[in-house]
């Protein structure tokens, strides 16, 4: 720490080290974000307002990421349980007195801003599980697994009850990945998968009508082509009509003529695929894979259990965003509200996502201090 403080950076690499920036991650994220702005411009019907809004959010998010990167990873470990507890408290508050928007209680009106506590849990849940396992022998014993599972289940159930299936899914994924990296035994994983399959019908009967509708529509999009199946039908038309090379930027008729709903938020991938074709899709997936790979590399290089589990689960969660969103837009998965990371129009989720990369950078750049 003292070395950094005394020597003013003179070269780029020194400067990067000084500001605790992982260049590869930053460049990949910036590429992705810049690409996202272009896609959004087209998807929003060439609205500069949308692009400027998104650029401001990106700026805030990137700045937040850099600020987070300055914080030593130890602090996250210490803070995680407290933030987690606070988050659960807020989620309970939301259940009790949250604002209802679009048929779901997700928002907490804090007077100045409306805030979704569930977003916070996307970070707090995996970090708390990671922190819990830091001082325990791994692979974890049954008691520890039980405690960790409980830590994940509480926010997931609270969020799912809002109902916000997409976010609940992401929190569950993030927490489970931490558990997975902690060394959850394969046979337990197998057992969980079987139990999940067995309880699917139970889940079905506890779903809201519109959620059931989504699943049914997913199973057969032609069931109701003008209603619930319309999204999927139109997004498949958009993707399919893109072909190998795409229709070209700003030429995607599906989005421009409003056939594709939510073309600048959850379904933005369809616009991208329509305009850039299969080659564009491969490039985008390549970029995402690079980011995930870099995250996992950081996890591998970290020397502390907490950091490893945190970095690993955050990286895999990022991939889950990508997979669930593209899978849903391409008609592989039911429609759940998961945005395409760094490209979909939206604030909170992106800021939280960039914050998670801030944590990755922090883990990576504070590493040497621990090594000495």
């Amino acid at each position: 720490m003292s070395a950094n403080a005394t020597n003013a950076p003179s070269t780029l690499s020194e400067w990067l080290v000084y500001w605790r920036i992982d260049l590869q991650l930053l460049v990949a994220l910036a590429c992705c974000a810049a690409l996202g702005l272009f896609v959004l411009y087209s998807a929003s019907g060439q609205s500069t307002a949308v692009v400027i809004n998104q650029a401001i959010r990106l700026g805030i998010g990137l700045l937040g990421m850099l600020v987070v990167a300055q914080i030593p990873p130890e602090w996250f470990r210490v803070a995680a349980p407290w933030v987690f507890g606070f988050g659960v408290f807020l989620l309970v508050l939301v259940v009790l007195l949250g604002d209802t928007a679009m048929g779901a209680r997700r928002w907490l009106d804090l007077g100045v801003v409306r805030f979704q506590p569930s977003e916070l849990m996307k970070l707090a849940a995996p970090l708390t599980v990671a922190a819990y396992f830091r001082d325990r022998s791994l692979p974890p014993n049954l008691k520890d697994v039980g405690v960790a599972a409980l830590l994940v289940a509480v926010p997931v159930l609270l969020v799912a009850d809002q109902p916000d299936l997409g976010t609940a899914l992401l929190i569950a994924a993030a927490g489970s990945f931490a558990l997975y990296f902690a060394g959850l035994r394969w046979r337990i994983i197998l057992l969980l998968v079987l139990v999940a399959a067995a309880t699917a019908p139970l889940l079905w009967y506890n779903m809201h009508d519109y959620q059931q509708e989504r699943v049914l529509t997913f199973l057969n999009p032609a069931r109701d082509p003008t209603g619930a199946g319309y999204h999927i039908s139109q997004s498949k038309i958009a993707i399919g009509s893109g072909g190998l090379f795409g229709k070209g930027w700003l030429n995607g008729s599906q989005a421009h003529l409003n056939f594709l709903p939510e073309s600048d938020t959850d379904f933005v991938f369809a616009v991208f695929a329509e305009e850039t074709g299969l080659f564009g899709v491969m490039a985008l997936l390549g970029l995402y894979c690079f980011i995930v790979a870099r995250g996992l590399y950081i996890a591998l290089k970290s020397q502390d259990t907490f950091q490893r589990l945190a970095a690993g689960s955050l990286s895999l969660t990022f991939f889950i965003y990508v997979f669930v969103n593209i899978g849903m837009v391409a008609g592989l998965l039911p429609v759940v509200g998961v945005p395409l990371p760094l490209i979909s129009y939206g604030g909170t989720s992106m800021v939280i996502l960039l914050a998670s990369f801030g944590i990755l950078m922090s883990i990576h750049t504070h590493r040497k201090l621990l090594a000495t």
Binding site: F181, N258, F323, A330
Partner: protein
Amino acid sequence: MVSDNAIKNHAAERRMFLLRTAVAGAVIMVLVGVLLFRVGFLQVLRYGYYETRSQDNRMRVQVMPPVRGLIYDRNGVVLADNLPAYRLEIVPEQVENVDATLDRLSRIVEIRDADRQRFRDRMAKTPRFRGVPIRLNLSQREVARFEVNRGSFPGVEVRAGLTRHYPLGDVSAHLVGYVGGITVEDLRRVDEKRYRGSNHIGKSGVEYSYESRLHGEPGSRVVETNASGRALRELEMNRPVAGESLFLTIDARLQRAAYDALGDQDGAVVAMNPKTGGLLALVSKPSYDPDLFVDGISHVNYQQLISDPHKPLFNRALQGQYPPGSTVKPVMALAGLETDQIAADKQVWCPGFITLPGSNHRYRDWKRSGHGWVDMPEAIYRSSDVYFYKLGLKLGIDNIHRYGAMFGLGSRTGIDLPRENSGIMPSRAWKNGTRNQPWFPGETLNTIIGQGFMTTTPLQLAQMTSRIAERGEGYKPHVLGGWRDPLDGTMHQTKPTALRPIQLEDASHWGVIISGMEQVITNPRGTAHYYVGQNLDYTIAGKSGSAQVTKLTQNQAAPDIEDVEHQFRDHALFIAFAPIDDPEIAVAVLVEHGGGGSSVAGPVARKVIDAFRSQPPVLQASAGAGR
């Protein structure tokens, strides 16, 4: 304790983490492969399918209906016009609940019960994918109010368009006809593709018979539309071609004069240019307002029209079949001369009746006391029945039929107007065919004075008159005089179709019957002298006729006209042409239950010819400049 664990597990933990990361990485690769495979499947294997779906989404072909051609009279007076109008249409196919939509609509624009009723009638007859008007002639205010709420009415549209208007109204209704909404039956007789965007089709009159020329060719527009169906830009454009504008041979002023001349009597007037066969006026009374039909006639109005005992929708000039009465006498006289059965100057004794051998039945003259000795011209101008009875016995039905048919009686003239009737020119074959009976001599006597089985249309009488006027020459009756090419605006004239001339053995025979017809009006003893022959400044030939509606009983003479109830009175007929040397107009007048041909129909014919002569027609070549 804590540090023990950490030290103890450090290496093993790293190994395990490495393994787990590798497994996760492999799973990620598989999942990325799944995504790529899926996207590749959509974008490569199913590209063609989705590309088509995308184009279908994006492009709409809009039909642009052509502007219907206008109809003018010979001088460029508009008889059928197009007026701009906004109407509210519902496409039943695109509306889930028509009743609910109507209820909601009625809060925005005024919809009366009559509108609903008419909408229902039209909807039943219209294919479901076509728009059915619910309101016509919307005000600007109503259009604006609807447009604001447009989003909540899928399948309901305001259509700016043209509607048809007939400036002469009932005066030309039976001639020009009217257009109306396109029904399923209509589509069977036209090329449906040409009518995709059209709202009107000719239903009667000129509008019907020249439908294919008036309609024009629709254009199309390929537009890019957004998801709500709004056209954003035009990709392709095929302009519609307007229909041809038609110029009729009709003179609107004469048409009106003839209409007025009939007054409030039921009847028909047909005026024709004998040199071309072109009609100058065609009137049937009573008439109706053709504008009522254009955008769908209301139930009440329609009921009123069809339940009217005077049958205003019935076109008497073309469809009415009446006994021609004495108006056929000149033709019968000609038959007598040509077949050498009688000479023009042969005096014939005409008491008040004749009887046939072996029968007591008295065939009476209209004049109970008879006419005394009369020659042929006198028999014509005094309209002696007995003279013609005697001539008929010599001629026989075969000659009578032959000469009647020669002048077009009993067969359709083939005029370019719809639903013409043929009338009957009886013959042995006809009677055998329709009644399976032989011909009786008494029927010959009825036929030669235009009674009995014989019926003709007023149009046929006008044609017969023209052919007498032109001494055997003649042209097919028609109303279309010319048309204007919609593309280059050039005028075209229709060529009259010449009929086979009536060749006489002795052409001077024309003079005999025309002289008789002239004296009908000029001779103080002529039947029409008093009614038609006053203050003439041109030469005119004519013939009256009274067609019996009820058969008189055995010994009954014709009763005094005022004593007969209207519906049992004779039909009054009059034919005339003028001037005699160079005929410019031939007229046939029928007044239903009018009574005397000379006294009732004669003055109508005189008024029509007077009107014609006081306003000589403008040359047709300049008609194109009319508008």
